[in-house]
Symmetry: C2
Subunit: 416 residues, 2 copies
């Protein structure tokens, strides 16, 4: 196969994570050393940056700053929640992308995100192919939710799981110091799948975690929960409950919907948050006990200071492998992970067709959840534990994190 | 002076912190090696444990577990919020304490807590003295609020401040990834004083922190805040606001009181929490923008995984020095810290009469707050920075914290 020469562009999309920038570092490092790729561009705010020709020249950034990305949370290039219309409905954006790609001779397109982003990737890939414009399109996986299909797990999950498990252990101890009853309702992110909420079971396994775990995989019933809580509270006066923000009652409603209206975003997703407080208030009313609702909010997805070393390395690897795959001729795939069926944990790379990932969601297997649907079983512990190992790689200055800071020189500016 | 021989008891009181157990380790380590002290007891749930003769024999715990206390948050012995009545009102508790102390030959009483606990200490000390019962009573300081009088700072503060500053930096980045406006209202603990909320200024100093900081030291005015927020939002579409849970309007009401009833605890203190959500909702209504309220809740006071090494060491030192002071004849004092007026940071020990600490509160100096009353100035940064240095000392197992676990053998049981 002949070498495809041209420029590369990379974009970040969807909710950020503690390690999405580590994937960026992987893409940048690998792409910058390739002979086939002349310029490496970073699209600001994902696809929106491409549509607006708002992108920067990564070649102008220092090696030191690119290295610091490994300990810098959120998205160095900015993210977006922009939904590309179907081509048949409205071809405008597609035509713009083609025009921009031609203008900048973009032959490599790397896009880092979750299943919505893989859908965007897939649509662009198909369109460019239909137009006969040669461009290698590779998805780089990212989501703290860990709900991407086919891949064993997703960069971002291990670090968020480590934050959740560690702080759950700490809060568990904290919440039980008084000689009086206390119920904690801990709300963890996860729109449709319970992977991150299940990470509280890692804390429980150590003896410092929730007695009850409610996941979106199981329809939520307040009365059943009340019964569960009452039973434990009567015995020990202390209950810790972990609940996913995404739990839904049998009629498909998330908990905050029971007390008011909930906003809808560009992808038609409901805005999350508030579940813990709603449940805490109801439990307090029903049981007359002290109840505290705690939402892990942005902390759980930006906690670079307690990131998993394994996750940081794998995120970087995913970025590197995306570039290697593209240079070797792959396109229309996402880099995914696989682990050996037997033996010690290992992270094996595989390429997954974008269409197999786009808009699918991987749920926690039912057999990893207990029969009552209110806790998580050991197979999950075995699955998750290898993903949270290793120290964070955040450089410090004055005892505080040292974040990467980019010059962000607009592409083309240096020729002016 | 003759050596006072007998047994020692130690108790923990008030809200826990990431390093209160490090002080316990300091007391235990020092007391266990003293010849004058025969048995070292730990009162379960502070003064309540003494009243109920519910205490354990620390001599039965292993050195390894005592060492693990340095990385174990919350209170290994349990805490309480029990208010001792004035002797003139009701002498019952005092008489019980005297009886228990005589029964167990307690000649050393170490009590770890904030200003309420120092008041308890002071009352007991005076009573025992009046009764002619020789007992050395020493307070060991503790509070994430940092509002204890006379002492330069208090163990627990540095670690909480480090958690707050670090996660604020991370959330700051996370909250600005999208190409749309976002207002964050971050609620930090601090019932009466703004020390911990001010720690968000450490993040701001690094370029990743709140544009606006509201402290309990300055009367809170919603309209002024709205003006502040609107001004910044119009310019940059992004605002991060740090607000203390203890901010009060001119009529002395905390923010959650404006929307409903607030519980009162045993000390007559209002139950905190909910400020961020109330303010976020009001800002959203007024500005029509996306606003997210975030409460750092129990995470900020139990975050051992990101504790300050300096704080852990100083907490341990305070415990050690309490024992040394008592053995040297001191009583009715709290161990406090002082720093040199000039030159590099150093932690000097001084003894402070309990009555000078009991029920007083140390506020952030007005001159460390900007004129508008909505941010914090450099003298605070210089004050706080030395307190957050050094790595946490949390041992790990499977990538998760390894906490101390006590056998908790009841005092006297081994003789049975």
């Amino acid at each position: 196969m002949s070498v495809l020469k041209g420029n590369a562009i990379f974009g970040q999309s969807g909710g950020p994570s503690a390690v999405i920038n580590s994937s960026a570092a992987g893409v940048f490092t690998e792409a910058l050393k390739s002979d086939a790729i002349k310029n490496v561009y970073g699209a600001l705010h994902g696809i929106v940056g491409i549509l607006n020709e708002d992108f920067i020249d990564i070649g102008q950034e220092s090696k030191k700053q690119i290295k610091l990305l490994r300990g810098t949370p959120a998205s160095i290039l900015g993210s977006c929640r922009y939904k590309l219309a179907d081509y048949d409905e409205d071809p405008t954006d597609y035509e713009t992308i083609l025009r921009v790609f031609k203008k900048y001779d973009i032959r490599y397109f790397f896009y880092n995100g979750g299943n919505d982003s893989m859908d965007t990737c897939d649509k662009i890939s198909k369109f460019l192919d239909d137009q006969g414009y040669e461009c290698r399109v590779i998805g780089v996986p990212k989501t703290i939710d860990n709900d991407l299909a086919v891949t064993d797990h997703t960069p971002g999950y291990g670090s968020a799981a480590k934050f959740v498990a560690t702080t759950t252990m700490e809060m568990f101890l904290d919440s039980r110091v008084y000689n009086r009853g206390m119920i904690i309702v801990l709300e963890v992110m996860g729109r449709h799948a319970g992977w991150l909420t299940a990470a509280t079971a890692l804390a429980a396994k150590k003896g410092y975690g929730p007695e009850l775990i409610y996941l979106p995989e199981i329809p939520f019933d307040f009365d059943e929960m009340l019964e569960d809580v009452e039973r434990i509270y009567t015995k020990s006066q202390n209950v810790m409950i972990a609940v996913s923000e995404g739990v839904k009652t049998a009629d498909g409603k998330i908990i905050p919907e029971s007390v008011g209206k909930v906003e809808i975003d560009a992808f038609g997703h409901k805005q999350m948050g508030g579940t813990a407080n709603v449940l805490a208030q109801r439990l307090g009313q029903e049981l007359g006990s002290k109840v505290r609702g705690i939402e892990l909010s942005l902390l759980q997805r930006s906690g670079s200071h307690i990131a998993s070393g394994v996750d940081i390395d794998e995120a970087f690897l995913a970025g590197q492998e995306a570039v290697k795959a593209a240079l070797a001729g792959a396109t229309d795939v996402m880099i995914g992970f696989e682990r050996p069926l037997k033996g010690p944990y290992e992270c094996l790379i595989r390429q997954i067709p974008l269409r197999d990932v786009a808009n699918h969601e991987k749920m926690l297997p039912r057999e990893w959840i207990n029969e009552a649907g209110n806790h998580v079983l050991d197979p999950f512990i075995d699955y998750a534990l290898p993903l949270i190992q290793g120290d964070p790689q955040q450089e410090k200055e004055d005892g505080l994190p040292l974040f990467a800071s980019f010059k962000k020189i607009q592409a083309g500016d240096r020729d002016k």
